[in-house]
Assembly symmetry: C2
DNA sequence: GTAGGTCTACTCGGATAAGACTTGTCCGAGTCGACTAGG
DNA sequence: CCTAGTCGACTCGGACAAGTCTTATCCGAGTAGACCTAC
């Protein structure tokens, strides 16, 4: 069970974009330089966030990415699932219905306790990530952080 | 973020072994036939559980696997981490210290809020799986299940 | 001085290869049970 | 009939390939701004 490396990238990039002023944008190249990341691949991930409706992209000179809505309305879970997909890590393939010990379908009307337990754990994980928004992350940074970030990123 | 397919296999196999009487064993071939799984690969996964101290293996005729301790002392998490490893899905590589925007190490004494949030979600997931033991799973099965399982598995 | 047109340069977007990991398979070492022969 | 020895077959254990997904890269389509020219 592993999240893509790019998860860390987009989380940091989203937190960085959240420090910009409204209507300001940052290009994929600027963000890549800011964190020393491979620019083309980072751009691909930012596209995924755009498709998910978390970022908004503008083309042309002075274009780039910006948050599509307020930081307090963007949860960690939304960002993670935008790059990794929303599929649950445990996929029940109903092997209890296969082989010599196979159960009949009507014996399996209730979901198997194993799958239910795994699903509950996934729900707990999602709930934990839903409880934290980008705004919560920003609140933990030093007060001077946005100014520094904007200067280095745009400068 | 995906768990190996074999996770479902070993969970069901562990639940099956928990229905045997003490000192009874089931071989990898018997379990594979019971669920119609590729026997050699299933054996590989059961080995992992043996290394983790969850199962106990005996060789020779009439040998096979059995639980290494009581079902109530085996948690779902222990089984899952035996096959998938205990590594957290989100790995913080401290990219905030790289690139133009890199922070100095002494600015990073506190763990980054993003990594901490992801770690807390992982903790919630683990706690949810620790709360359920194999005995809890067995308690949800019909009362006649162990008899049927033993007859089909061994017979 | 101002407005329109064109042109350039910069942006994102999707389609295309290489590497890593999961999945799947095989054969060898060890051990318990059964058979046989002797007492 | 009982017991010791030997044989055989079944078990797990680790080492070895193929498929699939993540990672990484490239080039093309589109657009906003800047420049130049005409009025």
């Amino acid at each position: 069970m592993k999240l893509p490396t790019s998860t860390e990238w987009v989380l940091h990039c989203a937190a960085t974009l959240a420090q910009l002023r409204p209507a300001e944008t940052a290009s994929a190249a600027q963000l890549a330089a800011y964190y020393d990341l491979p620019a083309p691949y980072l751009a691909k991930q930012l596209q995924a966030l755009t498709r998910a409706g978390i970022l908004s992209a503008t083309t042309g000179p002075r274009g780039g990415f910006r948050l599509a809505r307020a930081a307090k309305d963007i949860t960690m879970l939304q960002i993670v699932e935008a790059v990794d997909g929303a599929a649950a890590p445990y996929e029940c393939r109903e092997i209890r219905q296969q082989g010599r010990g196979g159960l009949t379908p009507d014996e399996c009307q209730e979901t198997c306790p194993l799958a239910r337990t795994m699903a509950e754990a996934h729900t707990a994980w999602r709930a934990s990530l839903t409880a934290v928004s980008l705004a919560d992350i920003l609140a933990e940074l030093p007060s001077g952080a946005p100014t520094r970030t904007r200067r280095i990123l745009m400068g």
